[in-house]
């Protein structure tokens, strides 16, 4: 039951998470997954199975763009960055999210930070 809820929740918010993480700098897939894990204090996990379908979908929509980067002494990795379209989508999604959380908070009586 818990995993079904998490699945639904993830689906609606994960795009926002990924776009947010790519806002300042480009990152590779594993880094994105790990950052989500760390910053959520272990509450959210993204594995290969869930992360890459999402990345590829966002890339296909033109919101993010990946390219291979080789750094000295490291393996070749695919880094993703936000496109201008993605930038605009992120702004919009943030607003939506704020409205949503605010609304839920007001109804559920949870103090909004």
């Amino acid at each position: 039951m818990a995993s079904a809820v998490e699945h639904e929740w993830k689906k609606s918010s994960s795009e926002l998470l990924i776009l947010s993480l790519l806002e300042d700098q480009s990152r590779h897939g594993y880094e994105i997954g790990r950052l989500i894990d760390i910053r959520s204090g272990g509450a959210l996990h993204f594995h290969v199975a869930s992360l890459y379908p999402l990345l590829y979908r966002l890339e296909k929509r033109g919101w993010i763009q990946g390219r291979w980067v080789e750094k000295a002494g490291q393996r070749r990795r695919r880094y993703y960055r936000l496109t201008p379209v993605g930038q605009r989508v992120l702004v919009a999604k943030r607003l939506q999210w704020q409205d949503f959380v605010g609304a839920v908070g007001r109804i559920a009586g949870v103090e909004h930070a």
Binding site: A49, R75, A92
Partner: protein, 910 residues
Amino acid sequence: MLDWKLEIRKRLVGSNLKPEREAEILDELSNHMQDRYDDLRVQETTHEEAFRDVIRELDLTDLVSELQPSEDIAPQDLVPEGVPAKGQLLSDFLMDLRYAIRTMWKSPGFTAVAALALALGIGANTAVFTVVNTLLLNPLPVEKISTLAALNTTQKKKTAQLGDLQALSFLNLKDLRGRTRAFRSLAGHSSPMAVTMTYKAEPHRIFMELVTSNYFQALGLHPYLGRFFLPDEDIKPGAAAVAVLGYSAWQNRFGGVSDIVGRTIKLNDTAFTVVGIGPKDFKGLYAVFGPDLWVPSMMAEQVLPSSLQKALTDRTIPLFTGIGRLDTSFALPQAQAEMKIAAATLEDEHPDANQGQDIVVRPLIEAAYGPERQALMFGGAFLMAIVGLVLLIACSNVANLLLARATVRRQEIAVRIALGAGRRRLMRQLLTESILLGLLGGVFGFLFGYGGCQLLSSLRPAEYAQNLADLRIDPAVFGFTFAIALVTGLVFGIVPALRSSRTSVSEVLKEETRTAGRTRGRINMANALLAGQVSISLVLLVVAAMFLRSIQHEYTIDPGYQTKHLALFMLYPGQAGYDQTRTEQFYKQARDRVSSIRGIASFSWASNLPLWGRKETGVVIEGQEQRKKSEAISTVVKTIDLDYFATMGVPFVKGRDFTQDDRDRSAPVAIINDTMAAEYWPNQDPLGKRVQLPHGQNFLQIVGIVKTSNYQTLGEPPQACIFIPLRQNFSDGMILYVRTEQNPSTILASVQDEIHNIDPGLAVEDIRTGTKVIDQALWWSKMAVDLLAVFGLLALALASVGLYGIMAYSVNQRRREIGVRMALGAGQGNVWLLVLRQGMTLVLIGLAVGIALALLVGHALSRFLYGVSGNDLLSLGGASLVLLAVAFVACYLPARSASRVDPLVALRSA
């Protein structure tokens, strides 16, 4: 690094990725797994545990399905989901625009064909609108035209008929100016009149208008150069010989020299100083024909022909149309009432001149067209309707192309809907594409329209091209073209866009591109559009054919005289300063010299060109009771010399021609036509009876009766006419009529030389052959018919290209079906027939509808046709045949290609 790739590859089985893409994914995922493994190992797990955990996390079902469906869609082409409309309209629009440009760029063939079809339609509309705008909507570039009115005289009983409007006499105008309160200023202008202008010793015939000094100021105009007339230049007759030159006369006759102001030109025999140049677009107050220059009214005696020289002092000579600027506190009806009273006062004060006369006040814009107003209005509306239909065909053509393309793009659109693009959003995107296409067509259409206007301008008769209105491309034309381009984009885009956005995602995604069965609905829509195009083009063709036949008939009208061996030379010795004795001497000299030229059968002098007859009202018949002024006899009056009827080939019914003995000392005589004889002397012999002309002192004895011919327009109803001999009725400007044995153009130069030998200072500019007179009389109708023919053919071309396109497309869609049929034994002939039947059925349906419509339209137009009925079989049949032939070719080509389908290739490729 461990080898993760084997595990990943196992899980990617069935994803049908391209090898390069698969390699990339393998690289990326194995990197990820290695990182994960390394992290787990750092947390002190064993190799086995870490390896197992990593592999357990590797569930690629989601990834495989994510990679599946829309493999071949370029990612950047997708409309992003979730971008809200609020506050994002502009960025959405820009995105749509970019996308539309890319789509158009990707299919240049489609874009070119569609834009060309639209450009032709829009171009035709732009050209016709420019004409309508110049002549009808916005004819006079004067200030606040709505507060300007034109004043004319009319007989009280006939006020309803505008054709009977006459000018005001100078003295009446002067009295009105002193009495009006409704008009802040009241000016007057004559109609354009021919004068001889001599500049650098070369005589030219040009058109001049006499105006009161406040004319330009009343119209709110400003000179392009120099100044207009001053009030004190219009007080003393003959005192101020100054002239304002029209802009185009300055450009065309003086090469636009900058120091024109202050130069001297000679008008007739008087030197005038040019004081200014009129505004650029201003060519007088008649929308169609304007003067080359303006002269103050006080110079009337110096520039007018002898018959009008007393215009400033004689209250019976109508010369000026009044132009009034309404005072702000008055409206037109009040001005009309005021003028009615003023007319009554004038009638009381000067009953001889003004009996039974009223003053008509009309808005200037109405007066601007003269008596041709109705014909022009109708012609304008009619041509707009015609080009509107041409544009409609172009639109339905492009709509068809879009519908056909929509089938190809269904998959793309379905994917976009699946990815969350809203229907409304999608429609907006598709409409952006079609409007962009419309605007592209608009740009080229504007260029076509501009070219069309240039072409139309170049078709104006060269003799007075500069006096005719210039077609103006002004902001209104820009606005019009832009608006129709926009509307066009919407019209042809909306149906395909609606249909496309209604695409059912699941069906389309499952469906493969080759199945054409589901596109029936589209084909039906396309068929309806096609049949519609066929019927509209038929209507246009039939209309063009009917008018073509009508003008052919007009050319066969017998004007009542010969035109094939006729040459005409206009000569105004009076304008060169000749007095009566010298003029008479000149007429005699010219006769002597011309008679020595070989190839001339006979010649004569007459006061008017053929079809330029002048009517006079108030003819008195001796012995009949005095008629009221409103019932006065009105006839054409022509002054002619000996041998006129022989030269023109007009036969005598009775009596004799004028002879050498009919001279100023002998009894005054006249010849009448048989229409006049029948009308005023029914069952009597008019020979020997006497008539008096309106301004004549003597009664003239009728000595001959000739056959009636056309005096004012071709094919006119018979009019009464009185001919009087030149030798008893002096005129200082006459036209030399020459009948030649051969083609008249061969003797034109020799006659001109002989006249030049008599006096190089005489202008012999306006030389015409008889056939040219007829051409000019029919010029307007000919031009209109040419335009109709062009538009009819344009419609036919567009419709047949559309037919060809849709047939070729449908054959392509049915390739597989045709392949199957052929594989099952259908012969080439059967396939050929199948396709041909499909196309020609449509054509025949369109034809049937078209014939019905053409009959209706023909009926409505029948009163504008000459000698052709509104259901003219030849026009209907001819147009139908042409259309059938062209449509057959348009269907034949795709049918032939269908019959050449190789079943093996078709089935394999499908």
